[in-house]
Symmetry: none
Subunit: 227 residues, 2 copies
C-alpha cells in the first residue's frame, strides 16, 4: 500500500501533476497536508489524474497524514551532510526491497523549504534523489515522479517473450546464411555473433517473426542464385 | 554527450521544468524544435536551469535537431501495439548500456500528439516508460525527468561499448539488405526490426564487427547475382 503525502504544497501545478503521477503509477492514497495553493487550479494540470485530486484526503497536520502506516519515508533535496545523522539518506533504487509487503507513506515537503527537521525526525527513513552535485534540487512533482517510477519498475513488468520456435528459426537461418557465404572456419564466428545478437535483441514474438522473415527472404534469394 | 531534443512543445511550464531538469542531471545540449509556447514565460519554471533555457538551440526542423549524433532515441507514451513494428520499444533502464560513450539525442514529442510516425522512423530506437496500463501517459517534463534520472543513475559503471561507426554500419547494411529483397512498403518493417534488434543485441565492438562482416558478405553476394 502506497500513500503519497504532500506537505503544504505551494504550487497548484505541482498538486495537479502529482495527482496525474498518482494515476500513472497507481498510488493507493493521496494525502495533502494543509495546502497552500488553489486545489481547483490544480485540476488544470491533473489530466486523467483528476480522480485522485477529487478524492485526496486533505488533513490539517503532518501527524494525521502519517497515521496507520508501517514505514514513513521522508524525502529531501539536500544530500547527506557530514555529521548530521538526520540527513543520512537512502537512494530511490534502495526503496523496493525496504517497502515490500508494507504500508508505506512517501512524504514530500514544501517547494520552498522542504520538510522540517521535526518532520524528518518523525519519519523512519530519508530519501534523496542524486543529481548534479551543484544543483540536485528537483521540482517537487518531478521528484515524486522519479520515486514512483522506481517503485513501479520494481514490481516487474511482464515483458512479452519470444517463442522457442522463433529462437530455433533464428538459429537455423543464421546457420544457413553463414553456410552460404563462409570461406573458412573463422567465418563460423559470424554465425555465433548473428544468432546471439538477434536472440538478445528481439523484443517480442512479433519482432522475432519479422526478423525471421527477413532472414528467410535473404536465404531464398541467395540459394536461387545457385540453382 | 546527451542532447535533449524537445519537439514543438506547447506548454511553457514544461519547457521551464525541462531546463531545470537539464541542469539537475547535467545534460550537454538542449534543442527546441519550433516551440509552440512562450519561452519567456518558461523561465518562471526553470529555476536555476534558466541558463539551459537561455542557451537552448532553437531550430526549425526535426532533422536539424538530430544532426551529428550517433544514436537517436525517440520516446512515446504509447506502448507497443500488436502489428506495429515501429512501436516496439525499449525501457528506460535498458538505455545506459546502449548509449555509453555515444553522442545521443533523447527526443520528446508534443504534449498533445507526441512524435509523428515519420519522426519515430527517423530515430534509431523508441523508448517507453511503463506505468498504469490504463493510463501510462506521463506529462512531458515528468517523462524527461525519469529518463534523465535513469541515465544519471547508471553513470560510473564501466561497460563495454559499441562504436558509433558500427552502429551506423549496422543501420546501413540493414537498409541495403532490405532494399534488395523488399516487395512492398510493409517490408520496410523488416529494416526497422533488423536494425533495432542488432543495435540492442550486440554486446560489444567485437560482436558488432562480426555481425557487420556477415551483413556485408550477404550484401555483396546478393548484389553480385544481379550484375
Amino acid at each position: 500500500m502506497i500513500r503519497l503525502v504532500i506537505v503544504e504544497p505551494e504550487g497548484s501545478y505541482n498538486v495537479g501533476f502529482i495527482s496525474r503521477l498518482a494515476k500513472n503509477f497507481l498510488v493507493d492514497e493521496l494525502y495533502i497536508v494543509n495546502p497552500h495553493c488553489d486545489l481547483e487550479e490544480a485540476k488544470r494540470f491533473s489530466a486523467k489524474g483528476i480522480e485522485y485530486l477529487e478524492r485526496a484526503k486533505i488533513v490539517n497536520s503532518f501527524d494525521e497524514a502519517i497515521k496507520d502506516v508501517d514505514l514513513k519515508i521522508a524525502t529531501s533535496s539536500i544530500a547527506d551532510n557530514r555529521g548530521d545523522i538526520l540527513r543520512k539518506s537512502i537512494r530511490p533504487w534502495e526503496l523496493p526491497k525496504l517497502i515490500e509487503g508494507k504500508r508505506i507513506a512517501l512524504i514530500f515537503g514544501r517547494e520552498s523549504v522542504g520538510l522540517t527537521r521535526e518532520e524528518i525526525a518523525k519519519s523512519d527513513l530519508l530519501l534523496f534523489i542524486p543529481g548534479n552535485p551543484e544543483y540536485p534540487v528537483l521540482n517537487l512533482s518531478h521528484a515524486v515522479g522519479i520515486v514512483l517510477y522506481e517503485i513501479w519498475k520494481s514490481k516487474g513488468e511482464n515483458r512479452p517473450t519470444v517463442s522457442s520456435e522463433s529462437i530455433s528459426l533464428i538459429d537455423k537461418y543464421s546457420r544457413d546464411l553463414v553456410n552460404l557465404i563462409k570461406n573458412n572456419e573463422e567465418d563460423e564466428a559470424m554465425y555465433i555473433a548473428l544468432k546471439r545478437a538477434l536472440i538478445k535483441g528481439v523484443l517480442d514474438e512479433e519482432e522475432a517473426r519479422t526478423v525471421i522473415r527477413l532472414l528467410r527472404k535473404l536465404y531464398v534469394k541467395l540459394t536461387k542464385k545457385f540453382e
